[in-house]
Symmetry: C2
Subunit: 224 residues, 2 copies
DNA sequence: GCGGTAAACGGACCGTGGTCCGAATACTTT
DNA sequence: AAAGTATTCGGACCACGGTCCGTTTACCGC
């Protein structure tokens, strides 16, 4: 990687809340904090929106898996370098396309009304969280799948980390015994877009069955 | 893909056993059946071993993540096309390097002595299977990680399918309630090389903790 | 307006995975 | 041994992600 500042990706997924932050471990902030990045130059901002529009159009036309960076650059009448400077890499561009829905989704369980948001008992929140997540995944399946990073980075993207800390917090709050962090990984892996894709598309499982499976899993895992 | 016959990969991972085959669903045989493929031409066989030797050397020298197909071809004094015809793609070559240990691993739980192999009570076998798998993954971490396919194909490679059918069979045998197939996926995701990599290398978790987590997970999941 | 400077631009360039197809060659048949 | 044929070979070729760096341009102080 070059020594230049990391790409801004988008303006960052909403701010951090009071959901206690478990560990944080690796460097990188849990969510790309929305703090004021020095404002963008006018041409940069203009190109940014042109690129996003072009990308959205191409995705709608040909599907996210056929989106190429050159095509986006060309469709936006912009140099290829510009695309990479703005979004870092292909995954960054795809994630930027999802930014809006991702934010809504995150807010729904971080600060939304119970039983999904704070206020309901933790096990209840776990159940709701899984259902909400499965539906979010199903709704954006193709895009999320195309944005999925290489295997060795699968757990690094901030959205994934947020899911994990959220699950860990709820498990701790539910006072389930055992290794909360590992159990959170277990639960999280049931909310994986690749798994959802495999089960629903390749194996023809209905989404209901996944949802029922989630409730059953929560029951088994939280049973003291 | 071309209409030519699919690449032979390697001579195939050992044969199928009596472990009931759950569903089989998608086309493709569960294990690339070892049935006699029409024998290889002499030059093909020679090149195959030269390629594997070259690849093994390069992996040892520079690590599997830096292995390029061209480098292998060059090191084996062979055309690039030959590498691809023989192994299909990068993943196929990497898997071929693992073929021997993979076979030993599979035999250990399919036909080996109890409590890992048939003969012990199913829950006991589950426990042993997880431990054995975690150690197998840890032993071949780098190679397995480099061989991991794109997200949308994560569950397709025969070894992964074998793990799933094995887990499903043991769960059914243990007469745990619930959706055996989904529970098998839950268990399998704890035995994922990317997860193991993340937890042990990025987060510094000792392998013991993963093993303890596995035993705990089996207990929670099989608790009736 | 006018210069100075940091930021953004753009497209040539590179490495790598994967394909293609005419040339070469190992087996078979007579 | 010679001819025939199916298989394999090999490297030119393509597509795509990602980098680099000389050029352009928006913003800031005057």
């Amino acid at each position: 990687m070059t020594p230049t500042a990391p790409p801004d990706d988008e303006q960052g997924h909403s701010g951090q809340t009071a959901e206690q932050a478990t560990e944080q471990a690796a460097g990188q902030p849990l969510l790309p904090l929305a703090g004021q990045t020095p404002p963008m130059r006018a041409d940069a901002a203009r190109n940014r929106t042109r690129l996003l529009e072009a990308a959205a159009r191409l995705v709608a036309e040909r599907g996210p898996e056929h989106l190429t960076m050159e095509a986006v650059a060309a469709a936006a009448s912009v140099g290829k370098g510009t695309v990479f400077r703005r979004f870092g890499d292909r995954g960054g561009l795809l994630m930027a396309l999802l930014d809006h829905s991702e934010r809504l989704y995150q807010e729904s369980f971080l600060t939304g009304p119970p039983p999904l948001g704070p206020g309901a008992p933790p096990v209840r929140r776990l159940e709701e969280f899984g259902i909400a997540t499965l539906r979010h995944l199903a709704a954006h399946r193709a895009l999320l799948l195309a944005a999925e990073p290489e295997a060795c980075r699968r757990f690094e993207p901030p959205p994934r980390r947020l899911v994990l800390t959220h699950l860990t917090a709820l498990l701790r709050e539910a006072d389930v015994g055992g290794d909360a962090e590992l159990l959170a990984h277990t639960l999280a892996s049931h909310l994986d877009v690749a798994l959802l894709h495999h089960l629903t598309r390749r194996r023809g499982m209905p989404l209901d069955r996944l949802e029922a499976g989630w409730l059953d899993l929560v029951a088994r895992v939280t049973r003291t």
